[in-house]
Each structure stands twice: as structure tokens, then as C-alpha cells.
Symmetry: C2
């Protein structure tokens, strides 16, 4: 019955398949359904229980195999660890409809594009890579929210092979989710995300590791307060997911860590020298930048 | 009238003076008043407007001079930047009652004890140094809350000169605020706080500075999400206050930064080598430690 629902406008998609029905994929489905942009949502995943939960929550209409999803879908969203991209696309390729568009939500783009090219070959034109910049503290289908992308930025890194209509269709879908879409080259995306996402995660984990492995770690953790809580929150994230991201974006991350080390050297020198004015200037620059960002980001 | 109120038990104080009526000092006063431990609260501060606000909010009964506070107070709480400790104590000394106890809320203790010894001389026995581990995202008297210290840890670093009754009286006051009191040596406190408070702040500020001064900082900040938000939140803190803390605890902070650098070297080597297993182990150790801490800290 639902398959026969008319899309409300030309950019609508009748059947959406989501591979990986967690916070990111589930919220995409929920947002599009809310706007009437999809008539039917299929879910693919490794965990039978999560899929069943997603059905019960009304996020997906049915759990299907990769092959079945490829056969039926007008649009496919890959919300899987970046390391799984190639295998998923290879599994879908033989069954993929000619008019189907695939996009993804991976946190790195150069490696995802390489994986997609390797998997899809000539049909790479059907793949429009993307990355929604949206929170992922909670996971699983129960965390999915129709408004997760409201006011958030989504980066697309379209390929030369993508026809303009393909880019436009994916852009419209994200806009229907309430997101603001910006486009850039995959390598620019990866350098920028290395800076503002991957390196903070790396440093937070390094710091947490150092405190947890210190001789008197119990005492340290007993005296840790709200600053520690905020600074280390991301270190609690999935080791598997972040290992994959770090390896996939290794070069940019190492380069950015080098830049942070240079900044650390400077600040440490000022502290070592007891240079109060220099210390103050550095702290003030950081504080003003953070406050300005906080007042504009909508993430405060 | 209020001065004649009977204290409810032997540990009660009739007149409390708070020097620096902001979040920390104001919350101390509000908590003790709630429990009937103080009959009258005097406030001392640099900003007439803050003091007036504190009177209007009922946090203090009157704004007075340092001298007047010293003359009247049974207990004095110093909630001022650590760099101001010596001058404040020098200003109070000539008027200080023999039976008055002074404590403080400074984030470093070795430097505060030095300042107190320099200022108070033989009367150092009246000073019981302390540090409540409690949030300070908001500032000013309007942020003061009677329950700020509920379930929080307060570190006391008593001096050999402090009579047991003095330690006990300050301990009881903090317990009346709902806090759990632990005692340690000033230098132990400073090393531990360097690790879990000062170094995270330093690193967060260094990172924020690096992003804000990068060539394409606008693009970076546009793509910064919730992980960035949490990791950099503390970098928005007061440059003056943190400069003072860094200088006051310089040695311990530099030493701990050295330890973090060693941990960073190891993690970076694993990434450089593409050692997935080692990366995963390090991330997992950090994630488990953070999750365990989060589940126990009451700060989650």
C-alpha cells in the first residue's frame, strides 16, 4: 500500500534503504518520513535485534537483505563504519537499479571515495558521498530523532562523475531533513575534519589513557571535576569506529597533530618562562574564539 | 538581631565572611545558611554591583570592607583568584580575631600556603587551606546555588600548625554543605589537580588556539560539531584566572604535560605504523576508563 503513495514533489524518493539503522541512518529515515519524502523505508543491518527495534519504533518498514535493498531502493543511505563501505557496495552492486542513488554518512571522505570506486567501477556516478556533522553520543535506533539534522551542516563531496541531478537530489533530501548543505573536495573535508573532530578525539583519548594508567589514577579520578568530564567525554566513544576513522584519515590527522604540537610548544615555552603576558594573550585568544563559536554554532 | 541567633550545634559559626561573592563563595554561604550554620553573612569584593546583587539575592546580609569582615567574622572564606591570597590576608591580619578561622577555595595549594604563611606569620594556625572540586561554568553571585557542593569532593590540605579543632570545624562546615571532605598534602593536591584539571584546560586552550589561528579557521569552525564543543568548552574560561593557576602550579603542570606527551608519542607511533590492534587497545582502555568514571562520578 505504502509503495503507491505519491511523492509530494519531484525530489521525493519512494523507497529509501538505510544500511546501518542507528542514530545517523535512523534519524535520516525519520526526518524524511516526517516530511513525506519517502513512502517506504527498508533497513539493512548486522544485528537482528536492532532491526527489529527499528521496525517497532516505526523507523523502518521492514528489515531486508543487502540484495533486496539494492533491488528495491530509489535512494540508499550507507550509515556504516567507513571500513565497511567497500564490502557493502560490492554486495549491492549486482542488484543495484540504474536510477538508484547512493549516499553515505562516513566521517572520512577520501577513503570512502576510494572504496566506492573500487566497489562500483563504472557505476560510481550513482554514488554521492556525504557527511552530516551531527552528534553521536547515543547510538542505536532508539536514539534516532527526526530533528537530529535540524540546523546542522551536511558536507557533500560530489564526484566529477555525478550528474548535476544526482547532487541536487541528495542535496534536497538533506535540506528536507533541515540541514544546510555545503560542498567541498574530499581531501579538504578530511583535513578539516581531522582538525575539528579526529584530532580532538585522539587527544582526549590520549589524555584519558594517561590519567587512567598513572600510578595514582584512583586519586586522580576521584578529584576529577566538570572540566575533566567535558574534555574526556568523547574518549568514551566506540574504539572500533574511531580506530577505523583514524586509520582512514591517518595522513591528515598526523599532520594536524604536528600543528597542535607546535602550538603546545609555544604555550609550554611561555609557561616555562613564567611569561604572564604571553600566557594571558594565548588564553584570551582561545577563550574569545571559543565563546564566539559557542554563540554562533547553535551547539552551545 | 541575627547575630543573637543561637548556633544549632557546636560546629556552627555565627558570622561568616566571604571574600569574593561569586559562584564558589556565594554557594558556600547559601549552603551554610540553608543548614542554619550561619546567622549572618558578610560579603567583601571588588565590584560594588556584584555585592549589591548578592545582598538582593539574600546570599549576604551586608557588604563590608576587608577590615570590617576581619573584625566581625568567626569564619572567613577566601574565594578569590589564588594570586590575590596574600594581599587579602595582609589586609585582614591587623583586625583578625584570635578565634577566627580562615579557609579558602583556591585551585592550587602550595602557592596559597606560601602566600598565607607570608601574610599571616605566626597566625598561620588560623588558616586551613581547602579546594572544593565543583563546577564553575557560570560565574557571579546569581550563579550561586545552595546545593552546588552536594555530593562533591572538597580537599583540605591542613597545616601542621592547625589545631585539630580547626580542621574539624572547617570539615564540619563543608560536610554541612553536602560535600565529602578528604585531606592530603598541598603538593599531592597540586600534582593531582595539575593532571585532571590544569592540563586539560591547557590542552583545550592550545587546541582552540591552533584551530582559531589556522588559515582556514572559518571553514574549520563551520564544520565543528558536538565533540569539538565538549573538548573545547573549558577553553572559554577566564584567561586571568587560568593564567594565575598555570603560573601558581607551573612545575606540576609542566611535568604532567611531559607525561601526556609520552602517551601522545606512543599513540602517534601506533597510528603512523598503521597498527590497528595497538590503536584499538589504546582507544579501548581510554573508553572503558572514561565510561567507568562517568558511571561513578555523579558528574555524567
Amino acid at each position: 500500500m505504502q509503495d503507491r503513495l505519491e511523492p509530494r514533489d519531484g525530489s521525493a524518493s519512494r523507497v529509501l534503504a538505510v544500511v546501518g539503522v542507528g542514530l545517523i541512518g535512523g534519524s535520516f529515515a525519520a526526518a524524511l518520513r516526517r516530511k513525506g519524502k519517502v513512502a517506504r523505508v527498508l533497513g539493512v543491518g548486522r544485528h537482528r535485534r536492532s532491526l527489529q527495534e527499528a521496525v517497532e519504533l516505526g523507523i523502518i518498514d521492514a528489515a531486508v537483505s543487502l540484495e533486496e535493498a539494492a533491488r528495491q531502493a530509489d535512494v540508499i543511505m550507507l550509515a556504516v563504519p567507513v571500513g565497511a563501505t567497500q564490502a557493502v557496495l560490492e554486495g549491492m552492486l549486482p542488484h543495484l537499479r540504474e536510477d538508484c542513488l547512493i549516499t553515505d554518512a562516513g566521517s572520512t571522505k577520501v577513503s570512502v571515495v576510494e572504496a566506492a570506486r573500487a566497489a562500483l567501477g563504472e557505476r560510481i556516478a550513482q554514488f554521492v558521498p556525504g557527511h552530516p556533522i551531527a552528534g553521536a553520543e547515543k547510538t542505536g535506533p532508539a536514539a534516532a530523532m527526526a530533528d537530529l539534522y535540524d540546523g546542522r551542516v551536511v558536507v557533500l563531496t560530489p564526484l566529477d562523475e555525478n550528474p548535476p541531478e544526482a547532487r541536487l537530489r541528495i542535496t534536497r533530501l538533506w535540506e528536507a531533513c533541515g540541514a544546510r548543505v555545503i560542498s567541498m573536495e574530499p581531501d579538504t573535508h578530511d583535513v578539516v575534519l581531522a582538525s575539528v573532530s579526529h584530532v580532538p578525539h585522539f587527544l582526549s583519548s590520549v589524555f584519558m589513557w594517561q590519567v587512567a594508567t598513572a600510578d595514582n589514577s584512583d586519586l586522580r579520578l576521584e578529584l576529577a571535576g566538570s572540566g575533566f568530564r567535558d574534555f574526556t567525554r568523547i574518549a568514551a566513544g566506540s574504539p572500533e569506529m574511531w580506530r577505523d576513522i583514524f586509520l582512514a584519515n591517518r595522513e591528515a590527522i598526523l599532520s594536524e597533530i604536528g600543528e597542535v604540537r607546535k602550538a603546545l610548544d609555544r604555550a609550554e615555552q611561555a609557561l616555562l618562562a613564567g611569561d604572564a603576558a604571553k600566557l594571558h594573550d594565548f588564553l584570551e585568544r582561545a577563550a574569545l574564539a571559543r565563546r564566539f563559536w559557542g554563540s554562533r554554532s547553535g551547539l552551545k
